[in-house]
Assembly symmetry: C2
Homo-oligomer: 302 residues x 2
């Protein structure tokens, strides 16, 4: 004995509406014996008869009446599944979980959320802030759809899409305003304040100074750019911050901002996602949005 199939339910539905095998078969675009057999199979599968067959006319049995209601319900659910699929592939709707590193999130977020709200009103964007390593893990095992980080991350499982590059600027105490900008080598002699371990921005700053690790220092590393700037303002040293952080972080601090001459330090911001994600095309679209949001900070306004 075979299983119940949707085909059987569809034929049964047609039969119940037309009360006539041949006409129902025509509606289903099959021949009458095909429909007859499927109905019989359905009856076999259910172990009970659905149709009272008279020569002149047929009618549903008691249970048939009940069954056809159920069958139609089932068919409707199946159709809705198809509709849901269509809706989900055509439109970028639902939830998008984006990770961002702490040296990007506070600065990019306002503009990004505004643009996302305009462009994809149906989309719920959730932001999670964490260090690159954690974000990578979360993207890889599906807890995030994508992350916005500094490139490269170089993981074979991830696609990287570069969005824009931004320069780092030197933040010095307010009174240093106008004094010559030190070269990257000179920076090493200054008291360079840095983020704590794990932030890629720390490594990028160090790399600019030509060092890749640092001997233990007397002062504690900061956990945010905000703190760093406040430390500079308090005269504890100098620091680097990315372009996008300038306006937010230096607004209420007595610090001066200076740009480097070549070689100018910079980082490339990009988005990463699983190579296998089916959201890929959506994410490419979305990355464009992020690119637009980051444009004001972008090197050479690009």
């Amino acid at each position: 004995m075979t299983e119940i199939s949707l085909r059987q339910l569809r034929y049964f539905d047609a039969l119940a509406t037309h009360n006539h095998f041949s006409r129902a078969a025509a509606v289903c675009a099959v021949t009458q014996p095909a429909l007859s057999m499927q109905i019989k199979e359905l009856e076999d599968a259910l172990g009970t008869s659905l149709i009272e067959r008279g020569t002149r006319q047929i009618r549903l049995t008691r249970f048939g009446e009940h069954a056809v209601r159920r069958a139609r319900e089932i068919l409707r659910f199946v159709d809705e599944l198809g509709e849901a699929a269509r809706a989900s592939r055509d439109e970028f709707v639902g939830r998008l979980r984006i990770g961002m590193i702490p040296t990007i999130a506070p600065y990019l977020l306002p503009k990004l959320m505004k643009e996302a709200g305009n462009r994809y009103p149906q989309l719920e964007v959730r932001i999670r802030e964490a260090l690159t390593s954690k974000l990578m893990l979360e993207v890889m095992d599906g807890r995030l759809d994508a992350a916005i980080v500094a490139l490269p991350v170089s993981s074979p499982a991830l696609t990287e899409a570069a969005l824009f590059s931004e320069e780092f600027v030197l933040v010095r105490p307010g009174e240093d305003e106008g004094t010559p900008v030190p070269s990257s080598e000179k920076l090493r002699e200054l008291r360079l304040l840095l983020l704590e371990e794990g932030h890629c921005f720390r490594d990028q700053a160090l790399s600019f100074c030509g060092v890749h690790s640092l001997p233990p220092r007397e002062i504690l590393d900061a956990s945010s750019l905000s703190t760093l700037v406040q430390m500079v303002s308090a005269g504890m040293g100098v620091t680097l911050i990315p372009e996008m952080a300038i306006s937010v972080e230096t607004r209420s601090a007595s610090v001066s901002v200076a740009r480097f001459k070549d070689p100018r330090p910079s980082r490339t911001i990009g988005m990463i996602w699983r190579k296998t994600t089916p959201l890929a095309s959506h994410l490419v679209q979305f990355s464009d949005l992020v690119r637009r949001a980051g444009k004001p900070f972008s090197k050479r306004g690009r």
Copy 2:
């Protein structure tokens, strides 16, 4: 492109629970390629991907998560349809619509309903009272499941099951008690009170008297046995009533009841149903119940 099938949903369900093609295939008792292909077909049919395929592990896509919930819902509905079918065929439950003619209903009903309540507590018995011709029509077009009438009805579309036979008795005014019982021929000379046209009992009574139609009479025909007996009690004539009506109808009337010598008039009570009804076996069962209910009235206690 093919249609969505339940098989695909079942495989998808298994795949979503095991997150592993081969194991899911094993659970479904098919080989892995079979399952892979059905999943692919499902994705094609939906026009969207459900599974993110990684070499090491797979996971559901966003839409896949939604789809599997829907799929399981659908599968549950289908299973329930099967269960409902099983329930409906094993047990005699639900609604049973029985028609009865007016010369049976009031007398058989109390006992029948009591017995039915004992034997099939799950069964809702609905009674409709009408003349034989109407009942036959209603049985034939499915508004009734069966009817209890006097046989024969001789319709090729209907099955007749004889249940019991009962005699007719003569009802005379109380003062006739003890006087000789007239023969059927003599009855013709008496003022025989009858039910109105359409009642089979009228025809049966006439037939007993050897006449098949009656010239217009001065008196009106009665619409119930009850009225007939009251008319007899009022001295308007005599009448015949069936055995089962005696105790109810003569209780509160000053009439005398007399039985005929051979040939004794009688009628056969039976049940009729559509030859094509799937309730046939249930109705045979039920007819047994009716037989039991009618036993006390039965000719020779049979």
